[in-house]
Symmetry: C2
Subunit: 392 residues, 2 copies
């Protein structure tokens, strides 16, 4: 679809029903008795049950199926800091994805303030209605603080999708790409380009999975422990990666690397940089809508497997492969947080949706319309929630 | 239905689907193109439109059809201060009433804090998603402060249903009851029993409509300007009512009164007190579930017309006769607040749903299932929003 057509069609769809989300009643309200049961006086018994035994809120209300989509509108898609109101269409979109792929109910909580403590306090104040919190499009580094503080304040799972959703899908895709290339994660030289929400979470998850040779680049070059960074997450990344304390720019980092994972800005990787990578190079150029390098250029540079964030190329790295199943599993297990083990289980389950003998260079991730995705991911996450103690 | 059966059936209904509310997507999500339009990259155009022109939020999102049901759980039904979590079943019930009667979408915002400023700040922070705010079950006197401050902070209508919804339905019922009795509002001696949220709003609306002889009683007796009260709303009521500065208890107030409106506590009115009222006495005993006096006792005491809050007696004063139409009209007109004129218009329209020649002593209010109710009320409210300047 050309850009003008896309714009016209998208705006038309949004105008058609005025937005994308509506309420649905799960109970009949046709005769007076329906009202006496669903509302006063009958509803008082449900309230009293919860007042007596707080956990009954999961029995008598819809809390356990609702997810709050919390944003401050500070890092919305590729649009940047557009604020709470302008973020609403994106959050409504996220809500209908939750419904479509996980049959979960989700509601946009677009917070006017961009102060971490106000975001945390507001989300905490309104948490009664929700079984989980999906943090969305909150800029780094405040997203790290918001996620940590909010999870400390709540006993329902808090999950920043731009971090962990991306990390789960990237790591699953990488797992399958490495299998096709006959390579091993522990041995590969990996460059993560971008040290924001996604880059940080991708790096940490790959390290958890056994990656040993990992460099993170931000716009100032390779993150390294010889530097002192203003933001805590960069110092943390520096301590976890780059044991040789290498310095330099992205081109230097990519020289003889096996894997490039871009979660940064469109167009910053040139074909020549891919040419300097090792044989059977894996290039995930995930900046959206313009990738770090387009697939054809990456292939010309010798890349063996290329993935992007776009639906119009093969191997789309799409968070919708992860968050519906992660929340479905977490809510089903009534997890109180998303443990590391749950993320690892989600990644493994997602990778395994495609049987190894069906993997191809242009088929390292399943379609989001494949119903096995949410099924396998949610089952694995629910199981890991229990075994990792995240339900306690 | 006997109380045990009611309890069992109500809890069963709430367990059946785990609560009462779900999300519904208004857009199809069946093929990849659907996602590119409803979510990324297409959704960016809706966000950009809003970032450029803030009022476009009503065009491209569902904001204009969503109502926040905001409570702090401090005065829930007859249950009192049960808190945010235990209030959730009631707020879900309110949400499905909004859907059923006005085809509006509503979502429970149950706020943990009971500090007025925190309630206001939280509701303000999350207002992007909503076209209006229904305050619900917030105890007096803090409800007055919360409503005032929140309306000052927002440019969408804020409406405390326990105040104004009740006042609209009571005044409509009284209008019809007086017509049947051949009496005039201005001439009648009216006793409002209860000086909380409902009693205060009922008194003010009746004064707006022309009532001249109005006494308000709280548990300390007739509110009068000779006293200095701790709470501002009582001093205000004292200044607006009881010009003769009468003192005494409820029995004294009811002696030779024409109208009794109870929004207080069950069982506090005895048959003998009704006997001392004037001929063709009108008794609205609205405490729930136990009215101030049961209809049969009031009738034995000589009452001409009796109304209660219960669905199992004639003349049910039910807020669901008002709030769906009020919000539907206000949101349709895109009102920025609920003006006095909008409340008066709602009351008049509701009263007029029953043609005068069809009024009977046991039929002074229409059924909430009568589709004319929301139609007439919403049309009148939308019109009054425009003419009273509440859309500016």
């Amino acid at each position: 679809m050309d850009p003008e057509e896309l714009k016209e069609k998208a705006l038309k769809l949004h105008r058609k029903h005025k937005g994308k989300i509506a309420l649905k009643s799960k109970v009949p309200l046709n005769v007076a008795e329906d009202l006496t049961l669903a509302y006063t006086p009958g509803v008082a018994h449900a309230s009293l049950a919860i007042a007596t035994r707080p956990s009954d809120i999961f029995k008598y209300t819809s809390k356990g199926n609702w997810v709050a989509i919390v944003t401050d509108g500070s890092a919305v898609l590729g649009l940047g800091n557009i604020g709470a109101d302008a973020a609403l269409p994106v959050m409504e979109g996220k809500a209908v994805l939750f419904k479509r792929f996980a049959n979960l109910d989700a509601f946009p909580i677009c917070i006017k303030s961009q102060e971490p403590d106000v975001i945390v306090e507001t989300a905490k104040q309104v948490a009664s209605s929700f079984g989980g919190v999906n943090l969305e499009d909150i800029a780094a580094p405040r997203c790290f603080e918001v996620e940590r503080k909010l999870q400390e304040a709540l006993d329902i799972p808090v999950f920043h999708d731009d971090q962990h959703g991306t990390a789960i899908v990237v790591s699953a895709a990488l797992h399958n790409a490495l299998a096709l290339a006959g390579k091993k994660l522990e041995e590969e030289k990996i460059v993560v380009c971008g040290a924001g929400a996604a880059g940080t979470a991708v790096s940490k998850l790959l390290l958890e999975q056994g990656a040993k040779h990992l460099l993170v680049c931000d716009k100032n070059g390779i993150v390294n422990a010889a530097e002192r960074y203003e933001h805590a997450h960069l110092n943390e990344l520096a301590a976890l990666t780059n044991p040789e304390k290498r310095k330099g720019g992205l081109a230097k980092a990519m020289d003889r690397a096996d894997v490039f994972i871009g979660v940064s800005a469109g167009g910053i990787v040139k074909k020549e940089m891919v040419e300097k990578m090792n044989a059977k190079a894996i290039v995930f150029a995930l900046a959206n809508p313009v990738p770090e390098i387009f697939p054809n250029a990456a292939k010309e540079g010798g890349a063996f497997i290329v993935a992007t964030g776009r639906s119009d190329y093969a191997n789309q790295v799409n968070n919708a492969l992860a968050f519906p199943g992660v929340f479905k599993g977490a809510l089903k297990a009534r997890a109180k947080r998303i443990s590391k083990e749950m993320k690892l289980a989600a990644s493994e389950a997602l990778a395994n949706v495609i049987p190894e003998n069906e993997l191809r260079e242009d088929y390292i991730l399943p379609s989001i319309f494949n119903p096995d995705v949410v099924k396998k991911v949610s089952e694995a996450v629910a199981e890991a929630a229990k075994t990792s103690g995240a339900t306690k």
